[in-house]
Symmetry: C2
Subunit: 704 residues, 2 copies
């Protein structure tokens, strides 16, 4: 059951798709409900709001906060793209889309803002805070057993999701856990997740630093010559002319359409990047049209706001303005017409290196500080050091405004909707431009609701083993919030990767829908062919392709059924206390339990089986060993070039023959893994010519 409580007059976010009755909450009726007796509330309203006051202590003034005392045994899930573990207890998190690649443990904000949490314990419930500015979740940070959610403003919609007796009665077969039921309810509320084209499940190679078409050709050639499977090359900012959106550099990429055709013959796709900021440059039509039609975000005085980003000084399209959204979305056609079928939207938190105002202030400060440079006090020196640290300054987010349906709204009040609406602009345009074709689309910044329009990658990470583990732990949380098409920069974006880290990361990455190896300019080159022992990479990438039918099929099911593609063990074995704490194993689809190795210098790991399962170890793409394992703890050996996982009992894994790109996938000849048992079958959802509804056609693979 979902109840929608409204505080004040919230800005509409379009996060949800279901219409629900609104229970308006005021300070007065909150007090009344709290003082009314639980058993006999005096009005219907009191009874409705009483549900809230029974659970929480709510404080409502200029700001909003909600708190409750947790039991020691309660676990808290959700928050999508957030730091730390699957169970979010023990720290605080601030939903505020932030361009910060240095995800160390104390960081509270990542690229996305996903305000759904779930408390699972004696009493279980889900909460969605539909509020587009900062939301703080203190989940046992200040006090170990206190959960507090707070916002600076007080205009928001709060959805309370509970599993009621009637939910169970409706479906007597429903033996799902509270967590699974509440997630499904929430996912139904926010609408079906985006399904990309089948080729988007192929392996993607990327690097910030492919400077021209020959760089691209070289990547393609190295992959194809070495029989390293590949479906796409994603292009970072260097393909553009001076980083201008929807342009192609005339010298570096003289004929993108021809290049695209040339690559297409090799079964390869291009995925160009689109950045949020539009370069200020006379005679650049995107800039001129935007200015003319008032499509850019404005300062309080009505002038267009100026932010320094990759192209230098830019304006930000006002994606919260429906007209601007339509205009910007239509611009993607320029690249689609050149044969492009996929895009990634970047820098859309929006990231700001500097604003004109911020740089002016900093310059003044530094001029003042330089006066004491001959004998600076320490504070002066620290001030000098910090003076230009004006990237993504929250002060800048108060310097520009959106036009939402004629209403002028300061950016910081709706900050977390910006990337969402950039991606929505593109997705809605794709429906107009090529209604019969699914395009690939993923974004860096996001808010719940955007999951209907595109995927996300988890942003700029680092070549750290701990970020491989973070990737593992983040997948189920992303799924809870609707983001199914997702994955991390395999091998790590910043810092220098190593061969062993990349191999282990790929061995997990072959299970994530978005499987992309991406690295930053200046870091060690990390295309698979850069390392010794190519065979190891080839076998792991090839196994990905053998898995694609299963991954795609489970993906479509998860989208259609509002279920999880990646799921914590806790959601399936809530009574098993050990299973509930396992965060380095994941269920993936209906058949698999993943047990990735995420540490250096080890040749195996321990795994916990909540029930008997079949251990599978791939020693190459085609050779594997299986072994039945009993419930309990096991140590499994898993060398650097091996992929190990488990198949759940009474489940099957279909594998297609090896191939080097999705265009070669052979759906006519499956190998079935699993403990054979009479009548066991696997329902395979297939892709059929990139039409949108094909996923509804279930076909069955049955054991001979």
């Amino acid at each position: 059951m979902i109840q929608k409580f409204r505080f004040g007059s919230p800005i509409s976010t379009d996060a949800t798709v279901e219409e629900l009755p609104i229970i308006q909450v005021t300070k007065e009726n909150l007090t009344a409900a709290a003082s009314a007796k639980k058993d006999c509330p005096s009005t219907v309203k009191d009874a409705e709001i009483g549900v809230l006051t029974n659970f929480f202590h709510i404080s409502l003034g200029q700001s909003f906060s909600l708190s409750l005392t947790m039991e020691d045994s309660d676990a808290v899930y959700g928050l999508g793209q957030a730091n730390r573990g699957i169970n979010k207890r023990g720290y605080k998190y601030i939903s505020c889309c932030t361009d910060d690649p240095n995800h160390t443990e104390e960081k509270v904000s990542f690229y996305g803002a996903h305000n759904f949490i779930m408390l699972i314990g004696k009493v279980s419930f889900g909460l969605f805070i539909d509020y587009p500015a900062n939301v703080c979740f203190d989940i046992g940070y200040t006090k170990q057993n206190e959960l507090t959610i707070s916002t600076e403003g007080r205009d928001l919609d709060l959805y309370l999701i509970t599993r009621t007796q009637s939910d169970d009665k409706e479906n007597t077969d429903n033996i799902d856990s509270d967590a699974l039921c509440i997630t499904r309810e929430f996912r139904r509320l926010i609408g079906q997740s985006y399904i990309p084209p089948l080729w988007a499940f192929g392996y993607i190679q990327s690097r910030w630093g492919y400077m021209n078409e020959n760089d691209i050709r070289r990547v393609a050639k190295n992959y194809r010559d070495n029989h390293l499977p590949l479906d796409s090359i994603s292009m970072d900012i260097d393909y553009m002319e001076d980083y201008k959106d929807f342009t192609v550099h005339p010298d570096r990429f003289p004929d993108l359409a021809a290049l695209s055709g040339e690559m297409s013959k090799q079964g390869l796709h291009f995925i160009p990047i689109i950045d949020a900021g539009v370069k200020i440059e006379k005679e650049y039509d995107v800039y001129e049209d935007g200015v003319k039609n008032n499509y850019f975000c404005k300062r309080a005085n009505g002038t267009d706001f100026v932010a320094g980003v990759w192209p230098g000084k830019t304006h930000f399209p006002d994606f919260l303005n429906a007209d601007a959204r339509r205009w910007f979305g239509n611009l993607y056609k320029r690249l689609i017409d050149l044969g492009i079928e996929g895009f990634w939207n970047d820098m859309n938190e929006p990231a700001i290196f500097f604003s004109e105002e911020g740089l002016e202030e900093a310059a003044k400060k530094v001029e003042e500080l330089l006066k004491v440079k001959d004998n600076p006090k320490l504070n002066d020196f620290w001030a000098m050091q910090g003076v230009f640290n004006i990237n993504n300054d929250h002060a800048d987010y108060k310097r520009f405004y959106h036009n939402m349906n004629g209403q002028k709204i300061r950016h910081d009040k709706v900050h977390n909707l910006y990337g969402f609406n950039m991606t929505r602009a593109a997705a809605e345009a794709f429906d107009r431009i090529c209604p019969d074709k699914r395009l690939l689309l993923f974004s860096r910044s996001s808010y719940i609701g955007m999951h209907r329009f595109g995927g996300i990658w988890t942003g700029d990470n680092q070549s750290w083993w701990s970020h491989l583990l973070l990737n593992i732990k983040m997948m189920p949380s992303l799924n809870m919030c609707g983001f199914l098409y997702s994955g991390a920069d395999l091998g790590g974006f910043g810092s220098n990767t190593t061969r062993d880290l990349l191999l282990r990361w790929l061995a997990f990455g072959i299970f994530t829908p978005l499987m992309r190896n991406h690295a930053a300019l200046g870091t060690r080159e990390q295309e698979c062919y850069q390392f010794e022992g190519l065979d190891d990479f080839r076998e792991i990438l090839t196994l990905r392709y053998r898995l694609i039918p299963y991954i795609y099929s489970e993906f479509v099911k998860a989208s259609q059924n509002n279920s999880l593609l990646f799921s914590p063990l806790a959601f399936s074995w809530p009574q098993d206390k050990v299973a509930c704490e396992i965060e380095d194993q994941l269920l993936m689809g209906e058949s698999l339990m993943l047990t990735p190795v995420y540490q250096p210098n080890v040749s195996g790991r321990t795994v916990y089986l909540p029930e008997d399962m079949l251990f599978v170890k791939f020693t190459s793409a085609t050779e594997y060993k299986t072994e039945s394992k009993k419930a309990g703890w096991h140590y499994i050996a898993c060398a650097l070039n091996e992929v190990c996982f488990f198949i759940r009992k009474d489940h099957l894994l279909p594998l297609c023959p090896p191939c080097e790109c999705t265009g070669e996938l052979d759906y006519s000849n499956f190998e079935l893994l699993g403990k054979t048992k009479e009548g066991l079958s696997y329902e395979l959802y297939m892709d059929d010519g990139y039409t949108k509804d094909i996923a509804h056609e279930g076909r069955y693979l049955t054991l001979k």
Copy 2:
């Protein structure tokens, strides 16, 4: 067997204490040895150098490098205070004492420079690169199976430590592993490790931000009133007057001697900090004496070098000058005379916030950059951002010189000796000032050799769970390099800690010789009494005191026998492949195997037993459960307020009665844990009135 190879004419570091014959290596005799037949070298020299060329490829030009191909199964240990795991394979490390608290995975330099590594495999050996400038260890980073050690210069001593047949013959009972034998040989070479006074094993509370004597009194009172055991309060820079070494702030600490006496009555010690830089201030006698006697490091032109550190502009004492060392060491007497018995030496990498030259250059650059501030190119903006990032700039290390025995040596050539010799200055002075008393002394920066003079803490870390794990993994490596008195800032120095992190970190910290809770200004207060549920903290701290006789006894044995206090499982069970990869369990002393919990939101962990052991779980300081466990994998439950570890078979753990400070330790009444077996005994090394040689008196505790 240890062979000492000399390349060029190295600077003497005093790292070692054993005199060994020197085998001088030149490019010529290296070539000769390499071309000579292994079996019949033409000269003795060829034969000696042939040992080297048999193991390694050595390149000798203006710089030095040594490399070899590793087997997949080889493990590499050592490097003391370095990043990552116990097995150092898979990354690179640069020995260069560096003030950088942000120990993320890609960092290559920490506060100490410990150039001892050991390769353990089919062929095993140890290497000590006695070279006081940067040394790069590429241990399978560039190529997975290649080990390369390189230096910019070519003057160095290389010690090759191997286990020869004759080593075994000498001692037929010697069943120790290669790793243990090689470590012991190396430790004998570098001399016996520092032993602090017994009270140094008590719990130390610290914080950067105790501003005056009332802050200190409040900490003491909160600990004593709550019966939270405590032995010492360590004082960060705020006790000084304007951060001037060997001064006490007259308003904040009007009578340190009286305060010291007052605390002493409560069984408490003060441990003040001493920084490397001496404030430039007229009439400050330390400054004036230093200038007058040429005790400070000088620029090429002979003027005293100026570095901005905590006091503002300072000079660096030339600790590589024996006269300056003696002078600086004697200054500690000023505080010793006030009742101080322990010190920590800080900022002695040396950390430099800015040099006069560096700040001048930066100011010029920024003035130039500000000219384009109205329309900066991105590179201009990045340049502005980076312009004042001149902390610990390597260019500064080339701007000053030492006077070593009359020789003028540029700092960067001997950088890693600076902190070592600051601490040596203090330790040698203590021997003069109070020859009959052991004082506590630990340092931030260090080089091998300093382990004879004092301990180290592992420098500024963060309140990250990963840094608790790093602490665990670093302990045995530190021990291999001679640093026995050591520990991390429990709870984490930077960032905000949480109650659960502090409890888990304390539960490991009770086993480390240096047990100090320390935090940075501006972070959350993390004295144990700042958190709810004080009982949990009290029981864990009290258990520390019950363990002190064992910890002290094992510490003294490790110092006297050149053995490890903390040891990897790999060193004791080299044939057990699973044990060899375990890095989150440690042997501690002869009786214990530690199995700390280092993850949030878990109520236990898996442990691997290479042989049968006795599981011990303390549910309070006095209540415990034991259970015999068979060799193999086990899951053990361990709640946030519990301490779990294992006692090795045929070993005992003596526990004294609970108390609140080392002054109350009762050595007359031990509880003995372990599987009782006739004749089993534990040799307890005791402390006796702070004399230096008492540790040689072995006494036996025997089962009734």
